[in-house]
């Protein structure tokens, strides 16, 4: 960890239970934009950021959310190791004012480490709303350490927190021996905590979660839970598809104009025709397609999804689906990591650290690529629009497209469950282990922040990565198409021919399978690769909308069955390069990285061959 090896004068570690707004405090302190979420254990690796106060520099370290210092999960181990082995000048324990007892239990444990400590009592506004009154001065007196009340979301109390941290960094902190002894086991710790709370906390109204409960009955009820879940998913997809349609068309028209303009400009300044063709038809065209097709859906999908995440709904999804995962002998938190996969499969793999059992963590990692990430959504949306709902228009069109996409995602989830179960009975034998899933209170999402955060943090990030891969991939495919071998055939044609027999067996064709192989670095470039291939082998030159694209595909032999098999193979093939590398890093073994490629690949081939076989028979 290079986080604390340079020039900051003081190292300040932030610890706390999951869901107490620790990352929000961290962001407010350092101003560093680090993604915070509303589910347990979102901060999965150690993040650092600097701030200064009165000429002194401080480095804040955001440790994973934990319930206890007695290490059981990877997160707890990381936090514990950090506090024990690094030179930490002060610890800020971020505590949730609405659930003080459990939070103080951790405070007592941290006290035993003899590191200067400041308690940051966060979420004071929520506590006030729930009519919980806390006597902060008395609490500070009881604990013998400074306690600072904050409301980090609104930026309140942070100056005082910085001051208090500065103070304890210099002076250290009196440690109370009698509290120390109480901390050794949970029973005594909680007895002690109850005593403290009895003196400092007043509940005005006992039934203070009645509204949350009503919502829970609705979102997690026997008859309502699953329909609402599917409905929300369908609505998110529908809005994404309906909203992305028009801007996508505009962007692709813009890029086509840009391509021909830059082509003539480059020719004018005297570049050789081959180089111009490489830049314009190779690099620019692929890049333009990736941006035109990816940016609009992402810019809509991410904020919507972040709203759900921010409101506290996602842990309820994990709750509703836990039973399915239990039957598959896996962990319910896998649904949270699957939700992260909607954004990026590699992020989903890292997110698997929130799962305690190593066996269940591996299952979640190995099956994670079944959930379509952002690089694959545009492909799915485009194919659905071209082949399933092409005859419709307007409202019904986008609605049906949304429903079909929902159906595909449900299929992906079912496949995840099936393969998880299979793994639990073969390669990773074992029984389901314990799951403790915290259901945080519903929070009104901060719409402004959500928009900015999801656009900046996610959309631009993912788009940037896609563009980085798309540009060289465009060059590569152009080279493949223009380098000829032996009998005058282009390398691309030779490769396409090579993949054709197996592609056809799967209901695809040579170009599609080759595109899947070549898009290993990033799934985003799959469709552009297919198009480039068809274009190079003759056909229409300009693709400015999905109608002409459909004509191109049909001219190259696509049928409804090809579209279906392509969508299935898009869901079930090998994970992208970044994901495989992340799995290698997380598991520390090439074996599991290879298995993570083999499992979805074999599944995909089997399902596609089956669908194709049945389809051929029926037609």
């Amino acid at each position: 960890m290079a986080l604390c090896e340079d020039n900051a004068e003081y190292i300040v570690a932030l610890v706390g239970n999951p869901n107490v707004g620790k990352s929000t405090v961290f962001n407010a302190l350092t101003g560093l934009r680090q993604h915070t979420g509303n589910w347990a254990g979102k901060t999965v690796s150690v993040a650092g950021g600097d701030y200064s106060l009165e000429g002194q520099s401080y480095r804040a370290i955001d440790l994973p959310g934990i319930y206890s210092l007695e290490a059981m999960s990877a997160d707890e181990e990381a936090a514990r190791q950090f506090l024990l082995t690094k030179k930490v000048d002060a610890v800020v324990v971020v505590a949730d004012a609405t659930a003080l007892e459990r939070n103080l239990s951790l405070v007592l444990q941290v006290l035993t480490l003899k590191i200067p400590i400041v308690v940051c009592l966060n979420l004071l506004d929520e506590a006030r709303k729930k009519r919980i009154k806390i006597d902060i001065d008395k609490l500070s007196e009881q604990l013998g350490v400074p306690v600072i009340g904050t409301n980090a979301r609104k930026g309140r109390g942070l100056e005082q927190l910085k001051q208090a941290v500065a103070k304890v960094c210099v002076s250290g902190c009196p440690i109370r021996q009698e509290l120390d002894e109480q901390a050794v086991d949970a029973k005594r710790r909680y007895a002690c905590v109850e005593q403290i709370c009895a003196q400092c906390v007043v509940f005005d109204k006992q039934d203070y979660t009645s509204f949350d409960r009503r919502l829970d009955r609705f979102f997690m009820g026997k008859w309502t839970a699953v329909p609402i879940m599917l409905l929300l998913l369908a609505i998110v997809f529908w809005i994404t598809i309906a909203g992305a349609n028009y801007p996508s068309a505009l962007l692709s028209q813009f890029f086509i104009a840009f391509e021909s303009a830059s082509k003539s400009l480059l020719l004018d300044i005297g570049l050789p025709a081959a180089v111009v063709s490489l830049l314009a038809e190779g690099l620019l065209r692929t890049l333009g397609w990736v941006i035109a097709v990816m940016l609009p859906p992402m810019a809509i999908f991410f904020p919507l999804f972040t709203l759900l995440e921010d409101s506290g709904y996602l842990p309820r999804v994990a709750f509703n689906l836990d039973n399915c995962f239990q039957r598959a002998c896996a962990c319910g938190k896998q649904s949270l990591t699957m939700c992260m996969c909607f954004g990026c499969n590699a992020c989903g793999v890292i997110g698997c650290r929130i799962i305690q059992s190593p066996r269940e963590k591996l299952i979640a990692m190995l099956t994670n690529s079944f959930v379509p990430c952002n690089g694959r959504f545009p492909t799915l949306i485009a194919i659905i629009s071209m082949f399933c709902v092409a005859a419709l228009s307007g409202f019904t069109r986008s609605l049906l497209a949304g429903l079909l996409l929902t159906a595909l995602v449900v299929f992906a989830v079912l496949m995840t469950l099936a393969i998880s179960k299979l793994l639990s009975h073969t390669l990773l034998k074992g029984l389901p282990s314990a799951v403790t899933l915290e259901l945080p209170p519903y929070r009104k999402p901060q719409i402004g922040t959500v928009l900015v955060r999801s656009l900046l943090d996610r959309t631009i990030f993912v788009l940037g990565r896609a563009a980085k891969v798309a540009a060289p991939a465009g060059v590569l495919i152009w080279l493949l198409a223009n380098i000829t071998v032996g009998g005058g055939e282009s390398l691309l044609a030779v490769l396409t021919e090579f993949f054709r027999p197996f592609g056809c067996f799967l209901g695809l064709d040579g170009a599609i399978l080759l595109a899947f192989v070549l898009s290993f670095p990033a799934n985003e470039i799959f469709l552009p690769l297919v198009i480039m291939n068809y274009l190079q082998l003759g056909g229409i030159v300009e693709i400015d909308n999905l109608v002409t694209l459909r004509e191109l595909l049909v001219a190259n032999g696509w049928t409804g069955l090809t579209a279906l098999c392509t969508m299935i193979f898009c869901l079930l093939h090998f994970p992208c390069g970044t994901t495989v590398l992340t799995i290698k890093k997380e598991t520390g073994s090439y074996k599991w990285a290879l298995i993570s490629i083999a499992i979805p690949l074999v599944t995909g081939c089997a399902v596609c061959a089956l669908v194709n076989g049945v389809g051929q028979l029926v037609m």
């Binding site: 319930y67 206890s68 007695e70 059981m72 949730d96 609405t98 659930a99 003080l100 007892e101 459990r102 239990s105 086991d185 949970a186 029973k187 909680y190 007895a191 979660t209 949350d212 409960r213 829970d216 009955r217 997690m220 009820g221 026997k222 008859w223 839970a225 699953v226 709750f319 509703n320 836990d322 039973n323 239990q326 319910g332 389901p432 314990a434 799951v435 403790t436 899933l437 915290e438 259901l439 945080p440 209170p441």
Partner: protein, 78 residues
């Protein structure tokens, strides 16, 4: 007045009880205790999952879902 003991997974929705003992192995026990499920803690069954498992319990100010396999290990007094 006879007291009724039952395991937590049998506690009906909306009912409150008080934790008596944990009948669990060392590690599982410690994890439950870390969450605050020690003898004397008040627990309420908030919401059964759509298929009856897991169940969300309210104790010490937060709602936490446990699988029935775990809730079975917690003996409560009504």
């Amino acid at each position: 007045m006879g007291k009724v003991y039952l395991s937590l997974n049998k506690l009906p929705q909306g009912k409150c009880a008080c934790v008596r003992t944990l009948i669990a192995e060392e590690e599982a026990k410690r994890r439950l205790e870390d969450l605050g499920l020690v003898a004397g803690t008040k627990v309420e069954t908030v919401q059964k999952g759509p298929s009856g498992d897991p169940t969300a319990y309210y104790f010490r100010g937060t709602v936490i879902a446990l699988r029935s396999e775990q809730a079975r290990q917690i003996l409560v007094e009504v």
